[in-house]
Subunit: 401 residues, 2 copies
């Protein structure tokens, strides 16, 4: 019998009524598949727990993972009870019971190994397996958490380990859209998308799936489906590029409004400077996104521009200024008033003119491009934040999505 992993996020299990709805979907699938259900905590719970940790200013430890993983015990226990009342046999298996073994980077642990044996035993008894998302057990035998959004990773990792037919990720949207429907009502649900495109969409703000989980699915060639827990429509399938019959030149337009631009002017134009700057930022756990470096006219001093999360801009500036003598630069300027807009599509690789069309569309709107970065399947530009919505709509139309 085929195996299906079903994952439900916090809004899908927010109350008993929604959990009953989840149970009905599980029951239906349990007639066709051996089912593993992975649940997040009820909406709001993990935030509440995180607030406690913020008050005691704890970043990540075994103790904080014990706190932050407790919400999932409630949702899994309740679902099991509800399934039981629907005459569907089920068993809750916690991270330590399966076990899902992780390293001991508490707060952002990585899964090292999953044991299928206990799950398969319960499959033989025709029981639905219910697993709390986001938790594992470290090699030291202590509870660990996979970091926020980690329930997607739990679901995908279990699906890969069990060689499941598919992993369905239920959420409060009914799929991946060609752009944000809040910005452009003409946004369309994408039927099939490649892992690579989804990765670009996810990390660029179409926050439907945790990036790690998509990477893991890609590595294992596992079909994902993103779909709504509120209706019965099919969602968006995330598949291997080879399975896309018609490759769209551009699949979607995404954006992020939480970036900030930092420019360091007058750095020595010699090898090792970039490595030094980004090494310092990395050591302070600051994530850098786009990087653009211009060579100076005199060949001695250059500028480097990059983006960070807006909330980390001031910290990044402070850290760089502390290292002024080491890096040897003239000055730093910052701009928190920027957005990144991207066009994404695997078809881009084989078709030309995508970038040209993008720059033309933005020029028509008199939008100044502050930085550009490109990959094989996406082009991103940094623009003034207040122009974001206009730009997204214009691009969505330009590529006839």
């Amino acid at each position: 019998m085929k195996i299906l992993v079903m994952k439900f996020g916090g809004t899908s299990v927010a109350d008993i009524k929604k959990l009953k709805n989840v149970a009905i979907k599980v029951k239906r699938n349990s007639k066709k598949y051996k089912v593993v259900v992975v649940l997040s905590a009820m909406a709001g719970e993990t935030n509440k727990l995180q607030k406690y940790l913020d008050i005691v200013s704890e970043k990540s430890s075994y103790s904080s993972d014990l706190v932050i993983t407790s919400g999932e015990h409630v949702s899994v226990g309740l679902l099991s009870i509800i399934l039981n009342k629907l005459k569907v046999k089920s068993i809750c298996l916690l991270g330590w019971q399966i076990p899902i073994i992780t390293d001991n980077s508490y707060g952002k642990a990585r899964i090292l190994k999953i044991n299928n044996k206990i799950i398969k035993n319960y499959f033989k008894k025709n029981e639905v397996i219910i697993v709390p998302g986001f938790q594992g057990i470290s090699k030291e035998g202590k509870i660990s958490s996979l970091g926020r959004g980690g329930s997607d990773t739990t679901a995908v990792a279990l699906a890969c380990s069990l060689k499941a037919t598919r992993c369905d990720i239920y959420t409060d949207v009914d799929g991946v859209y060609s752009t944000d429907p809040n910005i452009d009502k003409k946004a369309k649900k994408i039927k099939k998308i490649s892992y690579e495109e989804m990765l670009e969409m996810a990390s660029l703000g179409a926050k439907v799936l945790q990036t790690r989980s998509v990477e893991l699915a890609m590595k294992n060639n596992l079909v994902l489906q993103v779909l709504s827990s509120l209706n019965n429509s099919p969602g968006t399938f995330i598949v291997n590029e080879k399975n896309l019959i018609e490759k769209e030149m551009v699949t979607g337009i995404s954006y992020t409004k939480n970036e900030a631009k930092i420019t360091i002017s007058g750095i020595p134009d010699k090898p090792g400077v970039s490595s030094l700057i980004f090494g310092i930022l990395s050591d302070s756990n600051i994530n850098v996104d786009m990087i653009v470096q211009n060579i100076s006219q005199d060949g001695l001093r250059a500028n480097v521009t990059f983006t960070v999360q807006e909330r980390e801009m001031n910290l990044a500036k402070k850290i760089l200024e502390k290292n002024r003598d080491l890096i040897d630069f003239h000055y730093i300027s910052t701009n928190a008033d920027v957005s990144k807009v991207s066009v994404i599509g695997v078809g881009m690789k084989s078709q030309s003119g995508v970038a040209k069309k993008m720059f033309k569309a933005l020029a028509d709107l008199k939008i100044n491009i502050l930085a550009i970065s490109t990959s094989e399947i996406k082009i991103s530009v940094l623009i003034n934040r207040k122009m974001t919505n206009k730009a997204v709509k214009k691009l969505h139309k330009a590529y006839v999505l």
Copy 2:
């Protein structure tokens, strides 16, 4: 080095400020003792979880125990973090990690065995052990709960297993009083009380300690202390009767306002009838407290009066009426407007006149006694509920407490 078990209830760990206060008390004791801390969930949490279980109408199962034990993970994790910031090394050990092995009566599991080995290993590393109250692991390897108030039992069981010097139960009152201070301002804190007296006080409404935990302490001759988490005053010590130098004739006056009286009239006056009636009630999990049986004048038909929890009165009536033919009675009458008032004291065994004084005091107030029951160390009477406070005050004065 001596071992101390400290248990803090829900109101003592209700927020971060209170948890910091707990941490300071733990730190202080950790200089003199090897310390095990047992915590309840933050006040209100377990009730919230119970409400979910009520909505899905689940009584007790592994799944419901998974839900109901999750609150303690939050309080123990947070305390460990706070202790760490106070430079006190600590480790959270869950029920399954120690392990605290229970039977599989989920929802009201009984502890079968505690393994001291892991705890002793952490003692060697000078770590304070933090244990979530109320949870264990069944022989089947599933999380189990000890039932509401079970954290006291966890603390006492650990203290007995580790042969601790004492188990301190911190709560929101600073000890056991000679009666309810809300009713009589002259109520005094009792310095020392015997296990037996405490048992009578607890089951009669002075709800400071879970009955099971007192029984367990008595069996193991473990000294308990009930004290406040809000100040540094000594509390009430609960000890072996032999250690009470001066045995009070009457130690305290307790009462319960949640009883209801049921009278079954016209039952056959022959052997086996009581057994039948109380067997039926017991099978329906209805707890019966006082039982008074009067023989009928004609020697053929009798009446039996007993008390149940007020909230179970109607259910009890319904169940009995369903069995009318089997029991063979005339009619049932109920009265939810009653209270039980008790005088308690180990000295009673050796001194006479306690009952006489009680009945005299109540007669002075023209209070009608609806039923009487006695044990070696207590006398309880059932009276009209609206007379409760008057009766308690009068008795407190009569015995010069």
